[in-house]
Amino acid sequence: MALEITGSGKNPLRVETPVMPAAGTLGFGDRYKSLVDLGKLGALVTNPVTVEPWRPAAGPRLVPLDAGILVHTGLPNPGLKSVIRKYRRRWATLGIPVILHLAGSTVPRLREAVRLLDEVDEIDALELGLDDGIGARAATQLVAEAAKSEKPLLARLPFYECESLALPVAEAGADALVMTSAPRGTARDAESGKLVSGRVYGPLLKPMILRLVGRLRRELPGEVPIIGCGGIHNPQDARDYIEAGAVAVQVDAATWAQPRVLERIARDLGGWIATRQGDALLDEWNPDMGQTEALRRRASQSGPSRG
């Protein structure tokens, strides 16, 4: 019972369960083999890839935070051509759709990337990462260029500009919106005493991004699917995103802390969605099930407590 998670323009992207890793957390399908049954995920979102090779960032890359971490890797990768060459055979064996995350680009580079990617059957969709601070104009130009690909296009919106970019990016041709990349922050590295800039991960992202997803689901045209991403640590977190209007979710840093959480969420949501789609009665396949369904029903009767 496959779920369509991209809009209707192109061949829609279909997943068996609406759960996938966030770009940058799971590698290219070659890691985590012994820890996560990748075939049980809805899709693989690759680590970010740039057209040219990028080197790792200098200085501290990680600061442990109270209830979170701050990460700045510099997105090291050997460049798009090498990545395709190196991993396409592996992708063919995964049994789930592969979504290639493209980062840090310009219009001419994107044009080149789309040309390359459209030749690679092992890639099912593109996810374009939009950088923080990007204006609506630059964002729509990039998205319009990437949308020329034959493959469905997901656009990952930056946290702070999510509300202002959502509609223009959808109108520029994104087949789904990923909300959001992890917000940028600054923290002091206790070892070196340095202030480090990077992306912030932690459970407190969830209430903030869940609100964005709920608001934008109400404001955006119904045909633009939203994929929720931020602070998901257990099946209930993921269900909350779906109930707020997301078609699917991406799990981020929780996978590092506890790899089995990702697969568990994927299995849980897969069954839950199947049951909801088939309009089946509550059943006993999952111990958490009855209660959440009850919550959902109560919630849908009463709605959120404020506008």
């Binding site: 890691r31 080197r55 790792p56 979170g68 990460v71 070892e191 070196s192 802390a257 506890q258 790899p259």
Partner: protein, 252 residues
């Protein structure tokens, strides 16, 4: 590399600053080799609910393996642990140290860091009659080594990182492993490298290794946080490390 459950079976204070935790682990983990480590979370129940507290797993260094199912790890004595504590363990993390085939003399250096990552090699090396010297530098000089095997030679370095008989120790050594803290590692390694150069004129490949200690969020090569830029190559500490040939590193 696997995730498994373990628990703390016994806790022993072994010296002024160190305690050893005996872990009951899966048999596959008890076969861990020198150089490899464990990424550990303390958990309450079998299913790890609050996996954000803390986010980062702790890196635990086995120092002894026993009876095919007990691993001892050495931890700072100020940390508090309880017997019976359930653990989620990712491991083994990293590649085993590759020892010189005709190893007779081993030089170990711990700079500003407790030497736990270097200790698992001791039983096997000492049993084979290898002479091992452990040089403690900077804050590592405060490490109380009274519980380490008597055959191990322990040296405290001066403030300038030199020590008596340094020329001899460098000259005799067939291999050297240098452990540093993450912060300031590059500077410390580079200083030790020049000391070695002074004594040896040329440093051969596969002789001098840095043992890296960056934080590792994933431990499996996915997040790229632990990536090192070597000369002409990028390596991951969690997959390719922790030991890197210092002649291939770009030091300041």
């Amino acid at each position: 590399m696997n995730e498994s459950r373990a628990y703390i079976e016994r806790i022993r204070r072994v010296s002024r600053g160190q305690q050893r935790l005996e872990l009951a682990v899966e048999p596959s983990l008890a076969a861990i080799l020198p150089g490899q480590a464990l990424l550990v979370r303390r958990i309450e129940k079998d299913y790890d609910e609050a996996c954000w507290h803390p986010y980062l797993r702790e890196l635990w260094h086995p120092v002894e393996s026993r009876a095919g199912k007990i691993l001892s790890v050495e931890r700072d004595a100020r940390a508090s642990y309880a017997p019976g504590q359930l653990l989620s363990v990712l491991g083994p993390v990293g590649q085993p140290f590759r020892f010189h085939p005709k190893l007779r003399n081993m030089l170990l250096i711990a700079h500003d860091a407790a030497p736990a990552p270097l200790l698992l090699m001791l039983p096997a090396l000492l049993a084979r009659g290898v002479s091992v010297t452990l040089v403690l530098m900077a804050s590592a000089r405060a490490y109380d080594a009274s519980h380490l095997p008597e055959e191990l030679e322990i040296v405290l370095a001066e403030d300038d990182l030199s020590w008596q008989d340094m020329v001899m120790t460098w000259g005799w050594a067939d291999q050297a492993f240098v452990l540093t803290r993450q912060a300031g590692a590059d500077e410390a390694l580079s200083q030790i490298m020049s000391l070695a150069r002074e004594r040896l004129h040329e440093i051969p490949a596969n002789f001098l290794f840095a043992v890296a200690q960056r934080p590792m969020p994933c431990g499996v090569g996915a997040c790229h946080v632990c990536m090192l830029q070597l000369r002409g190559a990028q390596k991951l500490q969690c997959l390719d490390g922790p030991a890197f040939d210092m002649t291939a590193m770009r030091l300041p």
